[in-house]
């Protein structure tokens, strides 16, 4: 698919809808292995992000992503704010001057976001963080020609579920060590919703 500003805005709207309807679940996940504020923080952040992008006229996808980055980094708070903020800021920088944004551009953008988040959080794959979803999704997008939306969603979902068996070594859950096993990572779950939303927008554009 090709992404124009309408699709970029629709992506954020859909992501917000998914996060709002799963707010309690995100909180439950975070109460098990974190500090219990992920649902509330994500809900506040994406609510504000949607309000911002839905009420603004944009010329480029890069501008949409930049506004999302600004809102998320200032409204989510904690560690997730800078991480999601970084992701959208890197995506914005990558798709600057790209109109429309092609699949290849988007693959580059997600890869740049992943690298930015790894650097920001000083985390690698396999540490039970949102990186564990972003990494396989970035690989999937990069290797695919004419990527199918269903496969994108499946990839993200599988990656999210696999965080259940990981012992955390980064983030708050790291202090639980072995006890972090058996719980799905909350950050990976919110990242899954983001890609589920992208897949949804993608399907409509196919």
């Amino acid at each position: 698919m090709e992404m124009k500003t309408e699709q970029a805005v629709a992506w954020i709207e859909k992501a917000n809808a998914l996060i709002q309807s799963n707010k309690e679940y995100l909180t439950e996940l975070d109460q098990a292995i974190g500090d219990g504020d992920h649902g509330l923080n994500m809900s506040r952040g994406f609510q504000e992000a949607e309000a911002k992008v839905s009420g603004t006229d944009y010329d480029t996808v890069a501008d949409v992503f930049k506004d999302v980055a600004t809102v998320l980094m200032s409204k989510i708070g904690g560690a997730s704010g800078p991480l999601y903020g970084t992701a959208f800021l890197k995506m914005s920088m990558t798709v600057k001057d790209k109109d429309p944004v092609t699949e290849a551009n988007l693959a580059d953008a997600v890869e740049a976001a992943l690298n930015g988040m790894k650097q920001r959080g000083k985390a690698e794959q396999g540490e039970k963080t949102m990186i564990d979803v972003w990494h396989p999704v970035a690989d999937f997008l990069k290797n695919g020609q004419n990527v199918q939306a269903d496969k994108l969603e499946e990839t993200a979902e599988r990656a999210m579920n696999e965080t259940k068996d990981i012992v955390a070594t980064k983030g708050r859950a790291a202090y639980l060590q072995e006890r972090s096993k058996g719980h799905v990572d909350p950050g990976s779950t919110s990242s899954f919703y983001l890609f589920q939303a992208l897949a949804d927008v993608w399907k409509k554009g196919e």
Binding site: T70, M73, S74, G78, A79, P82, Y175
Partner: protein
């Protein structure tokens, strides 16, 4: 919870308003933010220093805004890092054209939020450098950090790097001094009672009437050991031993000492601790050149204290002696 507040949600804002009114000679607020700037900011011809972090550590950090120390302080919610947009606003407003230096305490949220603000500022062409302070020898990792925590030693960074900047040193040289302070400063604290964050209303941990937490963090994070309280001399000795046995070789050198109250410890008790610290260092052939006793980096209403030692050379001694004029630190 018994506190002198109106509403928990308004604590930080109302505190900042009152602070600004009290210290209008020194600071002014930056409209629409939680930033307090030097009254005369942006000061041209020098590197600008900015620090900040969660609130609840007063007088840190706004108390150190003024001549010879910080150009701006960014306040987050209680024990919560300020967000990048707030730090970014502080950087833009404080920048006098010679670059901006960020003093960050080593907590995961603080480091991420400040680094992100730094990148936003760099994208606008502002030169930014930073130091991450990690002086607490108690634990390698705590529930808030990766690596050691930044505590009262941060004030030595404000003082030395601030004085260096006031001399007109380059951003690179200010950074070198800040790194020198961090490399030569070690701290450790103890708590007798917990603190209560207004928003939660509950103590962050509980201690029995006769217990203390050795190695406490400034947010009530666990330390090394919970044990029966002992005498002032014994507690001071325990903290000092950990500090002296750490990686900085203080033996035979000159040091600056800080005995810092965590919020609810009377000055009299801090002086009792200082008396022991001075004697113990003298007996160990360590010469104290500067002594600071008081509340520099608190933890709300926590009772307890921390001891900080900084090994000093000629440059650091001279920077500690340089003029500073701020609400909470004057020289």
């Amino acid at each position: 919870m018994k506190k002198v507040i109106n509403q928990a949600d308004n604590v930080v804002r109302e505190m900042l308003e009152g602070f600004e009114e009290a210290h209008a000679d020194y600071v002014r607020s930056l409209e629409g933010t939680t930033v307090l700037l030097r009254k005369d900011a942006p000061v041209t011809g020098k590197v600008s220093l900015i620090s900040g972090g969660g609130s609840g550590h007063e007088p840190a950090h706004a108390g150190y805004v003024g001549e010879g120390m910080l150009d701006a302080a960014v306040a987050g919610e209680m024990f919560t890092s300020p967000t990048p947009d707030q730090v970014f606003e502080a950087i833009k407003a404080a920048n006098g054209g010679e670059g901006v230096f960020l003093v960050i305490k080593n907590y995961t949220g603080d480091v991420m939020n400040f680094e992100m603000a730094r990148e936003l500022a760099e994208a606008e062409g502002i030169s930014v450098e930073q130091v991450v302070v990690n002086d607490d020898v108690a634990v390698e990792d705590s529930s808030f950090t990766n690596g050691r925590r930044g505590i009262a030693g941060t004030v030595f960074v404000h003082k030395a790097a601030g004085a260096k900047a006031a001399e007109g040193a380059s951003l690179e040289d200010v950074k070198k001094v800040a790194e020198k302070v961090v490399a030569n400063t070690r701290s450790m604290g103890v708590a007798l009672t917990p603190c209560i964050v207004p928003g939660s209303g509950k103590p962050s941990f509980t201690l029995e009437e006769d217990e203390m937490e050795v190695g406490i963090g400034i947010h009530g994070e666990p330390g090394i050991e919970r044990k029966k309280i002992t005498s002032a001399d014994d507690i001071a000795e325990e903290l000092l031993q950990k500090v002296l046995q750490d990686s900085v070789d203080f033996q035979g050198s000159e040091v600056a000492v800080m005995v810092n109250g965590l919020g609810a410890t009377p000055a009299s008790e801090l002086y009792i601790v200082n008396r022991y610290v001075q004697k113990r260092l003298r007996d160990n052939d360590i010469q104290v050149t500067h002594t600071y006793v008081g509340e520099y980096m608190t933890s709300l209403e926590m009772a307890g204290f921390s001891i900080t030692l900084m090994k000093v050379d000629e440059e650091l001694k001279q920077l500690l002696d340089a003029r500073a004029d701020t609400p909470a630190f004057r020289k």
